[in-house]
Symmetry: C2
């Protein structure tokens, strides 16, 4: 069955950072178990990285060292594993060269897949070789497999997820310790949970890369990263999280993708998540994805979204699949069958909103905000004004009734430049 035989699956590994070294550790530590499950041994035979001399805590002497990343594609291997990162450059060159050479390709590179996934899937299918990327989305959680195979009998209507562990760590900590964003970010950086330049994470770009991949898999559409609406978390205050909690919500950075009548809708944005929703219980650096299918209903996949062990676990799961003879197109159906994503226009989208204004403490401010809402046709469900912040501003938090999002945008437009506002308003969506 599967024709796997007992010949080892030979691997070349590009990138020996945390995850790359982790892959070697997984293959060493669980060697016998993996061979039994895979039907044959999995053996790294060649490696490359920027710095040959750095101590990574694993013995590299047994592997061939190849200086030029792209030439790894010429090594005598079955599969090349790419853990270099970056949407273009050496990673993309290696992917193209590997697939052109008729070898399998495994990667954790979400940025590359979000930008070039279609091209790479076409190349893999043309060559008849596997292209796999479980580690690219939600770290150790087998959610690519869960959507591509586990939920394959279903037409999926919606996929939502907490896809960035750094943001979830920060938001959870802000909530638990009632601290503000900048303060918690600094601590996360000191602990290694956030990068020195954290913008890809905290501004939602990393989550958007992952969402574009999930959407393609879920809805049979071409990956369309440039049509993801992207927002981040850096303007959220501890006071926003406290207001949300008082209303029965938790604040999370959530990616939402929906296959609608007007094409694919994709957005990464801060959301108020009802406390009885599965994503509300996801704390710390954990990731989670909820998929809604027309027969299965709502599935939840949850687990560690990053880190050496979980990410390496996902890479090696892909290798085991390949060793077993796993077949099938990378994005669940042939690249040629993937539909165009259509317009990402969400202007007729409806929902409830949380709006928070920092305003000057003087007569008439509330009336001005309320009038802007009324004139734009936004119906207010609740409004709370709390005492002054450190800089003397007053916070006004509004929850709207369900209505068109474009009305909310119009209301904010009407208030733009108002002397009453002491800062940019914050708009968070309420997850329905």
């Amino acid at each position: 069955m599967g024709g796997t035989g007992s010949r080892a699956l030979r691997i070349a590994l590009a990138g020996l950072g945390t995850v790359g070294a982790g892959v070697i550790r997984v293959l060493d530590t669980n060697r016998e178990l993996i061979a039994r499950r895979a039907g044959r041994p999995i053996e790294v035979v060649a490696v490359t990285a920027r710095d040959r001399t750095k101590d990574r805590g694993v013995d590299l002497g047994r592997f061939a060292w190849i200086d030029d990343t792209t030439r790894l594609a010429e090594a005598e291997v079955d599969v090349v594993v790419e853990l270099v990162g970056g949407s273009d450059g050496p990673a993309l060159a290696l992917a193209r060269a590997t697939l052109a050479a008729g070898k399998g390709f495994v990667t954790a590179n979400k940025a590359m897949l979000a930008h070039h996934g279609l091209e790479l899937a076409e190349a893999a299918e043309a060559a008849g070789v596997p292209l796999k990327f479980e580690a690219a989305v939600a770290g150790g959680i087998p959610v690519i497999k869960g959507l591509r195979e586990g939920a394959a009998a279903n037409e999926l209507a919606r996929v939502t997820g907490i896809l960035n562990g750094t943001c979830n760590f920060i938001l959870s900590k802000m909530e638990a310790e009632k601290r503000d964003f900048a303060d918690v970010l600094a601590e996360a950086q000191a602990l290694g949970f956030a990068e020195a330049d954290p913008s890809f994470d905290i501004d939602g770009v990393d989550a958007a890369h992952k969402l574009a991949i999930l959407a393609s898999l879920s809805f049979g559409t071409k990956p369309a990263f440039d049509r993801v609406g992207i927002g981040g978390i850096r303007h959220i205050l501890a006071a926003d999280i406290a207001e949300a909690a008082a209303l029965g919500y938790r604040v999370r950075l959530v990616g939402v993708a929906e296959a609608g009548a007007h094409g694919l809708f994709q957005r990464v944005h801060a959301h108020l998540v009802p406390q009885d929703h599965p994503l509300a219980h996801v704390t710390g650096a954990t990731n989670a994805v909820v998929a809604e299918g027309n027969f299965v209903g709502r599935l939840l996949f949850q687990g560690p979204g990053a880190g050496e062990g979980p990410t390496a676990s996902a890479v090696v799961a892909d290798l085991i699949d390949i060793a077993r003879g796993e077949a099938g197109p990378p994005f669940a159906m042939p690249a040629a069958a993937l539909a165009d994503a259509g317009e990402a226009d969400g202007s007729d989208r409806r929902g409830r909103a949380y709006l928070r204004f920092a305003v000057a403490d003087r007569v008439g401010v509330l009336a001005e905000i309320a009038a802007a809402m009324r004139d734009a046709g936004v119906s207010i469900e609740s409004l709370i004004q709390r005492g002054a912040t450190a800089d003397g501003s007053v916070l006004v938090a509004i929850v709207t009734h369900e209505g068109p999002e474009r009305c909310v945008a119009q209301a904010l437009e009407r208030l733009r430049g108002s002397q009453s506002l002491t800062g940019e308003p914050l708009w968070m969506h309420i997850l329905g």
Copy 2:
């Protein structure tokens, strides 16, 4: 890729109850989508069921009708789907005949797999055909795939799960509405969430079947249903759930399997689950499984555990895998490589316990219970006595410190037959 070609995968279907009719509905409704994902059409060509005339809401006229279940194995098909149920009888005869005929076999039959899974896996491997059973555990949740493939790079230490939707529905409703067991069971039966004879569900047998399958997959051991310790939920009172809630726990029927130094430990039992544990948030008929791996950490799979749509979704996911050319042994590694489960002796197991006594309302009762605990070496963390119940008994609830479970058993043994007790004590484990 995968050599699937475009020839249809032909299916014979045994059993046209809720799930069987659901499989036909899924294949009809999502026909085009499934063909794109599977690489070829999936077509039911022959069916069998007890009653040919019953209206199931699907057109059966297009399928060959075969009266004798076992003879379905002789139909000109690639795969037989068994949804008849029962650990032996026609289901087992069909499984044996199908595999002997060199055809693939897909089943939702947890009882048959728990009792005969090893034999069937050996037969499938000998014939070089797939044996798949995603629908047998946790309904629509792709947890078999998640453990067998998604977590395949890991040595798993422990698998815990809420595996019976009927029990979880009852316990959730008892908690939310502060009602007692018998009352809620009657309502669940009226609503169709519980069988007329509910004992397989509420006494833990159904969950134990599923746990034995998960344990085999997770730990590379032969399925060992007869070594699962089994308890149910019928003696739990609304008062127990209220005490648990006051202590920060929820009451759930949890299956626990661990690969320990002394062999496999498997138990289905009512547990107090800490409110910050993922299983505490699983309400209603939902199922969930937590797997703990040595690299990935803790993974959670959650979703609908039963019902027509979810279960049919899992059956069809197996068929799509087969159509794609999915390969590999049924229990993650070859049957010949599965280890013996070893002794199921949990006598040196340690943990914390919740004990509840219904006692006569008179002097000296508490002293008697406390003395029995002391004499057995059980250390008490908290003890609460609440006012009398309807029958005049008083409830005494004890939470122990961590200690050997055998000491708790000894304490209960000391109290056996005591005139102070007006009913059997209740023992629930506290999930660590």
